[in-house]
């Protein structure tokens, strides 16, 4: 029972990480720190949205919640891939190591 619970939780968190990660990439964070903050906010919002959806539908059980997160992960990963935003190190981390990046974003250069 405990093993099943832990496995379920790990799966849910892994799917959440993929979904939040892909969504964060779509939101084009401007630095490593911004990427981390964006990821955290999107993941928290994802938890709330998923459970609101399942809970108000009267389906607050593990399977429907896993299904919703899996759908979100697939959709956001597909969108990120289609937009050519599959995460690269240069985009997510270290792209803003110089001080100038904190004044102007790449998109406004």
């Amino acid at each position: 029972m405990i093993v099943v619970g832990v496995a379920q939780l790990l799966l849910a968190c892994a799917l959440l990480a993929v979904a939040a990660g892909a969504t964060s990439v779509l939101l084009r964070p401007d630095s490593g720190i911004d990427a981390s903050v964006t990821f955290g906010v999107v993941a928290a919002a994802g938890v709330v949205a998923t459970l609101l959806l399942c809970g108000f539908a009267g389906e607050l059980r593990p399977a429907p919640a896993l299904g919703v997160v899996a759908l979100w992960a697939i959709a956001s990963a597909a969108l990120a891939r289609r937009a050519g935003l599959v995460p690269r190190r240069s985009r997510l981390l270290g792209s803003c190591s110089s001080r100038s990046c904190w004044r102007r974003s790449p998109s406004t250069r």
């Binding site: 964070p29 999107v42 459970l51 998109s107």
Partner: protein, 482 residues
């Protein structure tokens, strides 16, 4: 290691979670008389690990994650203020060692979630002000929605942040205006469901609170906000600035307070706040203003929210103050004109931060009239059987009877019995027990009953041969007779 023990967690935050999971939906729990209609995004966060793991063992880690998120947001704001990466990381770390935040992080309260999301929203708004990238408004909108739906006082944060976001967006041209619509829509979608539910079910979005505007009743409710506000633990009859100063003054000599607890009512921002953060905020603000730094926006937002919200004296409601204070300290440690001054700030920050950590970690103070547990005793509980880590065994004697209640039992609880303080422990750590509120109807067959001495239910059960007294004291527990 420890079962959930914090007061509000046991009275309503986790009671709501357990009730939702047993019902299979998000309808208001009948097991919380005070708080079933409060906004509940924090409870959704607590639901996540319990729903999948089938146990509350990891529910205490939720706010720890948000403490890390708050630190990241502070680091981001510090970078926007022009600090170097290592200095920004230090600012984030200084926030995390704030005693009120450190002591509350492993509990199922909502204050760390609120401050983390508010700081993330502020960081995203600053990034929008710098980059004009509309995606930053999406992140801000998500964070504001989380704050709005987490706590009633989150309305203050959400309002201030939305106004700031709208001003920035409207100044940013056509893209900004389009972004503004999306920004507000996202915040409302994520933050308003609880208010919408209340409006549909009770005709009042902020039920149970009545709302009046210019003497006219806008929404009816059984309570006024003033009825439930906790008075200051010190100088309760004095004007609020006196309450604030006297509360902060406690942190000047924090060893007199004993240990910091998770709902610290006197002081709580830690010795760093009055000794270093507060004095350095003045030159730091001037430096930011001279450079017209966008990070100044965050200082303005924090100051405004602190002034507008009702609990200015209470550390857990003002955790954004040490967030900006941490950046000011790191600025002082890196940017003050004289090397000896910078070294002094560094050494003082280290000593004061360590003092705060020590005072919030050497024991776990459960408050609520229970005895603290020393850190060494907490560590000794690693690997101990669940029964030895229960709240009844460690903190609240009246719940010790739960060690004898079967995992699949039904427990009826008399919610109007004042000595019955907590409902959540009755569910059990795996939420296997059915918990029902006592009603005037017949009790379910084989149920355990929790009430208080002298209550009508207590008198009725004393005469009932189907029940035997299982626990005496102010709290009375009846077990089904064999």
């Amino acid at each position: 290691m420890l079962a959930p023990f914090a007061f509000d967690a046991l009275t309503y935050h986790l009671t709501i979670v357990a009730s939702w999971l047993q019902q299979g939906d998000l309808s208001p729990t009948p097991l919380s008389l005070c708080c079933a209609f409060y906004p509940a995004n924090a409870e959704l966060m607590f639901t996540w690990p319990v729903l999948f793991a089938g146990s509350d063992a990891l529910v205490g880690t939720v706010q720890i994650g948000f403490a890390v998120l708050a630190a990241l947001a502070v680091a981001g704001i510090a970078r926007s203020a022009g600090l170097k990466p290592w200095a920004a990381a230090a600012a984030g770390a200084l926030l995390v060692v704030t005693p009120a935040l450190l002591a509350q992080s492993p509990t199922s309260y909502a204050d760390v979630i609120v401050v983390a999301c508010a700081l993330c929203a502020a960081h995203a708004l600053v990034r929008f002000a710098v980059t004009r990238a509309p995606q930053r408004l999406v992140v801000a909108g998500l964070a504001i929605g989380l704050v709005l739906g987490t706590k009633g006082t989150g309305i203050v944060w959400a309002t201030v942040l939305v106004v700031a976001g709208l001003v920035l967006a409207l100044r940013a041209g056509r893209d900004g205006r389009r972004g503004a619509v999306v920004f507000v829509a996202i915040a409302l979608v994520l933050g308003s469901p609880w208010y919408a539910r209340n409006w549909i079910q009770k005709g009042n979005p902020v039920y149970p609170f009545a709302v009046q505007a210019a003497g006219v009743a806008v929404f009816d409710g059984p309570l006024r906000v003033a009825d439930v506000l906790t008075p200051s633990a010190i100088a309760a009859d004095s004007p609020w600035p006196v309450q604030v100063v006297r509360s902060w003054a406690q942190d000047l000599a924090p060893w007199r307070l004993g240990s910091y607890d998770y709902q610290q009512r006197l002081g709580g921002l830690g010795p760093l706040w009055p000794w270093l953060m507060l004095p350095l905020l003045v030159p730091f603000t001037i430096a930011l203003a001279r450079r017209r730094s966008p990070a100044l926006l965050v200082l303005g937002l924090v100051a405004l929210v602190t002034l507008v919200q009702p609990y200015r004296w209470w550390a857990r409601f003002t955790l954004a103050l040490p967030a900006v204070g941490a950046i000011a300290v790191v600025w002082g440690a890196t940017c003050l004109p004289r090397p000896w001054l910078r070294n002094l700030v560094r050494a003082a920050a280290l000593v004061l931060a360590l003092a705060g950590v020590a005072l919030s970690s050497f024991e776990v103070d459960p408050a609520a009239r229970a005895d603290p547990l020393r850190a060494a005793d907490v560590v000794a509980l690693i690997g101990a059987p669940t029964s030895e880590r229960g709240v009844g065994r460690l903190f609240f004697d009246e719940y010790r009877f739960l060690e004898h209640v079967p995992d699949d039992a039904t427990v009826v609880v008399d919610l109007r019995a004042e000595p019955v303080r907590f409902v959540y422990p009755l569910f059990g750590s795996r939420h296997t027990r059915r918990v029902l509120p006592a009603t005037s109807g017949a009790l379910p067959r084989g149920a355990w009953v929790m009430t208080a001495v002298g209550r009508p239910l207590d008198r009725a059960l004393r005469r009932d041969v189907g029940f035997r007294l299982a626990s005496v004291g102010d709290v009375r527990v009846y077990a089904p007779a064999p």
